[in-house]
């Protein structure tokens, strides 16, 4: 894994195929280890009703278990309610229940029968007498609370009726009703727009063939396309003006009264809409020390006639 490989660059997310410097360590993103040779079960809370357990049992331990209890074993997770128990030892839980699992699943979402409790789980097997034997024990998880506490505070007491009103003002009915995050909101708006757009394929893939966009204006071609389809015969035409040229790369270039940026080799190109009428386009270049200048003026006229 730690060869200094000069490898191909991973394609994901990149838009570059050129690399500025010699890069030796853009290693191919390899898959992560399947296992870490641990015997372990870990519990995480997801919300007041569910927690998530993942586990791993190393081969040596598996062999020992098979030697002791046989080949065709049934695996279980034992879920203990350990609320308010200081030194949980496997025998002093408030209560417990078992879930039959497939060991190879390697993880499990556990639905809990009660909210506002603390839980711990054992991964284990049942022997021929149906007795549960622990392989490994998890951490203890205090679940997130759900619902308003029944406990009031003498010093900060509040009447039940007032408190209900306050909960309402605090937006208690909105809890969990949806999130306020940008990514979600924007995705939803995008989906809505696409659902009602005339040409749902438009933009939905990032790479839109540019041939669709024959229109040079700000009115994109798909709007026009829709208009023209309704007619039997049509002609649409418009015109634009392109001004281009080159000067010394360090010169200052003005088109009209505005300074215009030159490319590194002194070229410039400006494209503009050409409306009916006469247009003056003065182009002026001034040398970097300000001592020399040249000017070219275009006068362009457009007149449009429509004939049936």
């Amino acid at each position: 894994m730690d060869n200094k490989e000069l490898t191909t660059i991973p394609a994901s997310g990149t838009v570059s195929s050129k690399v500025e410097r010699k890069v030796e360590f853009i290693q191919q993103i390899t898959d992560l280890p399947q296992s870490y040779a641990d015997t372990k079960i870990f519990l995480l809370p997801r919300d007041p009703w569910w927690c998530f357990a993942y586990w791993e049992v190393e081969e040596k331990t598996m062999q020992e278990i098979r030697n002791l209890y046989g080949e065709n074993l049934q695996y279980f997770i034992r879920v203990y309610d350990v609320t308010n128990i200081d030194n949980f030892d496997g025998n002093n839980a408030n209560k417990y229940f078992d879930i039959h699992i497939n060991l190879d699943a390697k993880n499990w979402y556990i639905n809990l029968p009660e909210t506002n409790r603390s839980w711990c789980v054992d991964l284990g097997v049942k022997n021929s007498n149906g007795e549960f034997v622990t392989i490994v024990r998890s951490n203890i998880v205090i679940m997130p609370r759900f619902g308003v506490s029944l406990i009031t505070d003498a010093q900060w007491a509040v009447l039940q009726r007032e408190f209900e009103r306050l909960l309402e003002l605090s937006g208690v009915s909105m809890i969990g009703k949806g999130s306020f995050d940008i990514a979600k909101l924007m995705k939803e708006r995008w989906e809505e727009i696409m659902a009602i757009s005339q040409l749902p394929k438009f933009i939905s893939s990032a790479a839109v063939p540019h041939q669709q966009f024959i229109s040079s204006g700000f009115i994109s071609s798909f709007a026009k396309k829709e208009q023209v389809e309704k007619k039997e015969f049509y002609l649409k035409a418009d015109t634009e003006l392109i001004v281009y040229g080159e000067t010394m790369p360090d010169a200052k270039l003005y088109i009209g009264d505005r300074e215009f940026k030159l490319t590194s080799d002194g070229k410039f190109s400006l494209r503009m809409y050409l409306s009916d009428g006469e247009k003056f386009i003065p182009i002026k270049a001034v040398s970097s020390d300000g001592t020399m200048q040249k000017e070219i003026i275009f006068v362009v006229q457009r007149k449009t006639d429509y004939k049936e």
Partner: protein, 530 residues
Amino acid sequence: MVEGYWCLVLHNHLPFVKHPEYEDFLEEDWFYEAITETYIPIISILEGLLNDNVDFRITMSLTPPLCNMMEDKLLQDRYYKKLSKLIELAEKEVWRLQGQEPFFSTAKMYEYKFKNVMQVYERYNRNLLNAYKNLLNTAKVEIITCNATHGFLPLMSSDRIRKAQIKTAVKDYEIKFGRKPKGIWLAECAYSYGIDKILKECGLQYFFVEAHGILYGEPRPKYGVFAPVYTPNGVAVFARDIETAHQVWSADVGYPGDPDYREFYRDVGYDLEYEYIKPYLHIDGIRRNIGIKYYRVTGRVGLDKKEPYVPQWALNKAAQHAGNFMFNREHQIRYLKNIFDREPIVVSMYDAELFGHWWFEGPDFINFLFRKIHYDQNIFKAILPTEYLDKYPKNQILQPTSSSWGDKGYFEVWLNGCNDWIYKHLHKCEELMCQAVDVYHQDVLSGDEFKKRVLNQLTRELFLAQSSDWAFIMTTQTMVEYAHRRTKEHISNFLRLFYQLKENRVDTNFLSWLEFKNSIFKDIDYTVFI
């Protein structure tokens, strides 16, 4: 005498995305777009308020990854180039659209805005932290930190790991702002039991939670979400007001969906002729958003039915919405004052990127709102969390519930079938990190500088892998491939470096490469794990 207070909190965050190994990298755009559309527009507005002596207060979290990106020379220069190109396009657009209203006005608006962004950017020597430092000195703006790489604290394997994230954040803040942070934004507002103890130990005075963090706390909160409480460890907690969140976010009644506001999804990157727009696309030439948009939301219509954007209409609407928002706060606060025996505080928390990036007129809304609050009413004032705590140092003590501000209010966004596979690996790295520190710290104390470098880079790789952004992106199903890649990349970097350290065969070139590439936290200190 005012009847209550309003506290605006903007959370500024982006994951650390920097790819020196590519000359052009798509995901770096997140940062560049946010500077152009959100960070600098908001800085400009706050500076304008200061110049005009408008009394205002705003609390902003600037996460360590964001601060580190703002300070990064490579990203600074890349942004400069990017913005220069954008200005060039805006200038061309002004030419192209001469005489064509309302497009011409919109084009001129972009040209003006982008040039203003450049002016601010240059004024602060391309390092926006300089701007935030100035704002912080005014005492009208409070800047708080966020745990190191925006890691999702409740799903980490131990308090030792959580503490390392928080200590690193506090230290980074001190280096950047020259004083200790007073408050912290917990990434995703994700709180679980015990985190308050760590905050206390790190000298942090307050943090924020989603509404039910306090509403479902124990015992019952006397003032609901309209007053802070103290956790059993003595840290103040402010909870989010849902009404103000809803007013902005709701798909039906929220402000950003107004027909006059700018439509995010109609962009010149798709609309204009290919050869014309190509120089402004990424070098792969694929059409993408560029940031110049000429259409307004219009209504619930398809993209082809959108009508032209009229800057003045949009600005008028932002002023109108600011007036409406203020009116609603006056009512809310007056009502609460009537039933309380003290002045309530209404805390409105938003992602900063909402303002400007998605809701283009959002910064104008904030501008109008603060001016109206200052000039047009005397029911309430804007306030900073510490100012409110100074007024009301005595507060109820309660245990907030574990919660987050994500969908459904708990941890499911970061723990579901799309992303649950990451925790086994993250937890393993967390375990090995502690092991490495326990074993090799003595060597470093005896002067082994090389091991110190290795331990520091292990810390960076672990922190970067822990960013909650990757799990979040996996859930939202946008740019998933990148999130997978980053998670795997940092975990495999970590493991590879760890085993090289363990087997005493660290490849110096590999270490240097990682230091160069994943360069977050220049002054990182692995002893945060001790």
